[in-house]
């Protein structure tokens, strides 16, 4: 993502488990999540709706996933951390 600052706060956070939830009917196919965290999100070929690739992403991806959740223009991504 250009402009909005890029690098999110903390890089790796070992020991924290993350679960990602997407509310598919809310998704507006903007592709912001795919541009920020391509290992975790993709878009359906036919209509661009989000596809969750990795429900429990590794710690080095956490910052990007949190960034995606904030940026998502449909508030369709929720991150649960323990």
């Amino acid at each position: 993502m250009s402009g909005a600052g890029g690098g999110a706060g903390s890089g790796e956070d070992k020991g924290v488990t993350m679960r990602v939830e997407v509310d598919v009917p809310k998704c507006v196919a903007s592709g912001q999540c795919v541009m920020i965290a391509p290992d975790v999100f993709d878009q359906r070929e036919e209509d661009g709706i989000v596809v969750l690739l990795d429900e429990r992403p590794a710690s080095e991806l956490h910052a990007d996933v949190r960034e995606s959740a904030v940026v998502c223009p449909a508030a369709a991504i929720r991150v649960v951390e323990k």
């Binding site: 993502m1 250009s2 402009g3 909005a4 600052g5 999110a8 706060g9 809310k26 507006v28 196919a29 903007s30 592709g31 912001q32 795919v34 541009m35 878009q43 359906r44 070929e45 036919e46 661009g48 949190r66 904030v70 940026v71 223009p73 449909a74 508030a75 929720r78």
Partner: protein, 396 residues
């Protein structure tokens, strides 16, 4: 920094407070909003809410628990009425004075209205309450006049006609949205209205809202049971008058989105210099509100490492059975070329040229990878010659 105040509790304000916390800010964080609701999302208002597919419980941007976890001093249903820049305090309508060392202004815009005897009863579409009030009045046997065929008016017209409402859409320009998307795409939108039975009348100036309809500038009355006025918006900067902050078309900010030391603007209300396109812009798009809210939070917290806010603007709009998506800065473009697909099939990708660069791209019904590739051309300010080649110009 011990006390940050964010005025405007919507997309931009929420992104700012969330980002402040995520970046480790632990001081007092006051979020002030004049609407009585938790931050909610506006794009669904003219889509799923107006159409009745969603109830209001679908639009909050965050759950109450997630908001709670931010540890906010949340003041909803309270209007900010003034700013003392030198004394660093925000005045509220309830008499409170809130001190700050950092301020984010995210008060958005409000709908422009029309004069006339019926003006009080005319609808606008900005808030949840607006959407619910209009939705109540739609359906078979009802006549709706929509004034303004911009994206908002067009979306509302499409949804209303889908509910069986008889819809007349009035637009002063000969081709709706031509300055924004070009004539050919504008004409494609015109055809979509006609195909769906919406009576789009172009080149029509509305003078006022009368009793029982709208009065055109030539005196004709266009009858309607309900009128929706969708003729653009006005930045909410009234509370900043006399504060010394630069106000013009919105709050005037620099490339860092700052309006004064430790005072930043974000979202629909803020006009700033976007260095990527080398021009000042004020953008009324959902994604920009979030990105700018995030950017100003970071700049506020790290003054020594401030970054210019240089996004590729993005918006989408749902019209009937298709979705428009656009990346970049299309305004003032000099040429449009359909580079993939075909307009007639409502599956295409159009590139927009300003100077010798690809300034933007607009897509309908195209695979996401193709759209992202073209967005990249905009983000890297690719030369038109390299990206589009020597296509025969097809008119702007």
């Amino acid at each position: 920094m011990k006390h940050v105040v964010v005025v405007g509790a919507s997309a931009a304000g929420l992104a700012a407070v969330e980002t402040l916390r995520r970046e480790g800010y632990e001081g007092t964080l006051t979020l002030i909003g004049d609407e009585p609701y938790h931050p909610y999302d506006r794009p669904p208002l003219s889509k799923q809410i107006l159409g009745g597919q969603w109830e209001p419980d679908r639009v909050p941007l965050r759950s109450a628990a997630d908001l709670d976890a931010l540890g906010l001093d949340l003041r909803l249903g309270v209007t900010a009425t003034g700013l003392d820049l030198a004394g660093r305090t925000v005045a509220l309508a309830d008499g409170a004075r809130v001190p700050y060392d950092g301020l984010v202004i995210a008060t958005g815009v409000r709908p422009r209205r029309l004069p006339g005897d019926g003006a009080e009863r005319a609808h606008v579409l900005r808030t949840l309450d607006d959407a619910l009030a209009l939705r109540d009045r739609l359906g078979p046997g009802r006549r709706l006049v929509v004034v303004g065929a911009g994206f908002l008016g067009a979306e509302a017209a499409a949804v209303a006609s889908g509910l069986g409402t008889e819809v007349t859409l009035l637009e002063p320009a000969p081709v709706p949205l031509a300055p924004a998307v070009g004539e050919r795409v504008g004409r494609m939108l015109t055809r979509a209205h006609h195909d769906h039975g919406v009576d789009l009348r172009t080149g029509v100036m509305v003078a006022e809202v009368a009793d029982g309809g709208v009065r055109l500038s030539d005196g004709t009355l266009v009858e309607a049971d309900e009128v929706l006025v969708a003729i653009g918006s006005v930045p909410n900067t009234g509370w900043l008058e006399g504060s010394g902050l630069p106000l013009g078309d919105g709050l005037e900010c620099d490339e860092y989105s700052a309006a004064a030391p430790d005072v930043y603007g974000a979202g629909d209300v803020a006009r700033w210099h976007n260095p990527l396109f080398g021009t000042a812009m004020r953008i009324e798009h959902r994604t920009n509100a979030t990105e700018q809210g995030m950017a100003v939070a970071r700049n506020l917290l790290s003054p020594e490492a401030r970054k210019p806010f240089a996004p590729v603007p993005y918006f989408w709009s749902d019209q009937y059975d298709f979705r428009i998506q656009a990346h970049g800065w299309l305004r003032g473009h000099e040429e449009v070329a359909v580079v993939e697909g075909a307009l007639e099939e409502r599956k295409f990708l159009a590139a927009y040229r300003s100077g010798d660069r690809v300034a933007g791209v607009l897509a309908v019904g195209m695979p996401p990878k193709a759209v992202r590739t073209w967005r990249q051309a905009v983000a890297t300010r690719a030369a038109w010659r390299d990206a589009v080649g020597e296509l025969v110009p097809e008119g702007a």
